[in-house]
């Protein structure tokens, strides 16, 4: 187990290094790096000063080391557009995105898994077909379009839910949350639903496929032969077995949902990181892009590490392998 964790930690460090190289190249290879680091309308004097300050007269490998050194200290540079340091800027937007993503992914899982299990348990029933129809649709409808339709129906036609922004928030642990107020929930509902739909479709398909396969195995037949009820079989046997792929996908999808939040946040004007990154792409605010990429990468590695460990906890067969 120790060897396994060390292995994963080493991999994480290597991955972070690779990503930092890629991002470094991305920033420094494309365009004049000085344009990236300071505002284009700075004077010649400031430019030369900046070149010295950022060590751009140094050889490339030294620049890379300095770049990494600054990253480790949490210095991601300043945003052109906002003129403030990037890291606090992103961190101030992060809770809104995390809140939206969490609500969407957890909701999609809690609704999707039971429905998917049902569809896999009775694959020929009418309800199962309906569930699968919705899931195919959820899988096929682009997130941005369904966002438009949601706004059109709930905000424009019926006017029962707001079309944008975060609504009222309340502070907890020094961070503001929408989920703590009724008005916040009203604002959260549509974007979360929008973001959750694809994940929901995914969870349904995953749970259905797993259940269908497991229902045909001898494990289930043996449990039936022992007189165990269908409810027990689904709850104790099937759920435990499909939990393994679902946890994996849950983790991976949590990451990709963070990324997809870009679209949802744009449509619903949700003041999260996704909105920030789209704005910075459109305004070529490169320090923000770099910081965002590094942060997302870091987040991803963290999530993957957690999944690996949870995975081992869920599947005793892997424990044997990981134990050495």
């Amino acid at each position: 187990m120790l060897g396994f964790i060390i292995q994963r930690l080493l991999q994480a460090v290597v991955v972070m290094m690779i990503i930092s190289v890629l991002v470094f190249c991305g920033v420094y290879a494309v365009g004049n790096p000085i344009d990236v680091l300071i505002s284009p309308d700075a004077t010649q004097q400031i430019r030369e000063e900046a070149i010295r300050t950022y060590g751009l007269d140094q050889p490339l490998w030294k620049q890379y080391l300095d770049f990494v050194g600054r990253l480790v200290q949490g210095d991601f540079g300043r945003s052109f557009v906002f003129g403030s340091p990037v890291l606090p800027l992103i961190l101030s937007r992060l809770p809104a995105t995390l809140e939206l993503t969490l609500v969407a992914v957890v909701g999609a899982t809690l609704v999707g898994v039971p429905l998917g299990m049902y569809a896999g348990y009775k694959p020929d029933s009418l309800a199962a077909r309906a569930i699968m129809g919705i899931s195919i649709l959820g899988f096929s409808v682009p997130t941005f379009w369904i966002g438009l339709v949601l706004i059109f129906i709930f905000a424009v036609q019926f006017g029962i839910l707001p079309a944008g922004s975060r609504g009222e928030t309340r502070e907890l642990f020094g961070i503001s949350w929408s989920v703590l107020t009724a008005n916040g929930w009203q604002h959260l509902f549509l974007p979360a639903l929008n973001l959750a739909l694809f994940k929901f479709a995914m969870m349904v398909r995953l749970a259905r496929a797993g259940t269908r396969e497991i229902m045909l195995t001898d494990t289930v037949k043996f449990a039936r032969a022992a007189g165990e009820s269908e409810a027990t079989i689904l709850r104790r046997h099937v759920l435990r077995l499909i939990a393994i792929p679902i946890v994996t996908v849950f983790g991976l999808e949590f990451g990709s949902t963070l990324a997809f939040a870009v679209v949802t946040e744009t449509i619903f004007s949700w003041p999260g990181v996704g909105k920030l990154i789209i704005d910075s792409i459109n305004t070529l605010d490169r320090p923000v892009m770099v910081a965002y990429l590094m942060l997302v990468a870091f987040f991803f590695i963290l999530v993957n590490l957690t999944i690996d460990i949870v995975y081992v906890a869920l599947d005793p067969r892997l424990r044997l392998r990981a134990a050495s």
């Binding site: 001898d218 037949k221 449990a223 039936r224 022992a226 007189g227 104790r236 046997h237 599947d315």
Partner: protein, 324 residues
Amino acid sequence: MSGPLLVVEGLTTEFPTRAGIVRAVREVSFHVEAGEILGLVGESGSGKSVTGFSILGLIDPPGRITGGSVRLAGCELVGLPARDLRAMRGREIAMVFQDPAATLNPVLRIGDQMALAIHAHETVSAAAARARVAEVLTLVGIPDAARRLDAYPHQFSGGMRQRVAIATALLNRPKLIICDEPTTALDVSVQAQILTEMRALARDTGTALIWISHDLATVSSLASRIIVMYAGRVIEEGPIRQVLSAPGHPYARGLLDSLPAKAVAGKDLMQIPGAPPSMLALPPGCAFAPRCLRADGACDAEPAPTVAGDRRWRCHHPHAEPTS
């Protein structure tokens, strides 16, 4: 109690497939006395396993029992409501499968999954269930059972896993256990251990066994009566010594004669020509006729069962004339 423990009459099980209806079990009739070991022999596709599953009502849809009756101690099982049937399974009739690696749930502890089989029928405390599980595991020859309740299946060898499966079947002290090729996946030395223990267990607890196998030698060392199936039908039935020393049906005889043990080493074996028929295109009349050296025009008609004392066969031209 008078009369046999289990009476199967005219049992027919069908599986609709795209290419047509497969009648896997065709008008099968036999009985099992209390405490008796009945051998059920046939090749793959002969319907022997489906017969076992039909008795327990464990046919996966779209397959279903289309006719006949299964009576356990006078109680009709065919057409019984799902709830009542479930209550019978494990408690009155239990089953052991071929591959212990596939039957046990890999992600549940041995003690926990066996306890599920107890809780399916009784409300007992977790501690009481655990104690009973340990007791039965000891009974089937697992040393140090109490300490191994928290082990996972993969930590056990193949033979030990099959013992766990057998223990699960014994948990609720059923009157009959259907054993579907329980030693086929095991090595000969382990097979010998399990056979010895099963015979002792059946004798000591008075449990009747239906021992399904393709191996005549195994059955001959275990059962007191034998049923031979071919293409979904029982073609021969009788006390084991009589059937094995003087088989009536040409197929049963061919099967016996094709064993290497019956031939001189290095000389050609007696062989049955051809291959078993496709269950989708059964020949009219006797299904064995196309491979049978004794077949003639009469065999185009389905032979009715001939009864002679304890013995029974379905053949127009049996090797032995019925003697009473």
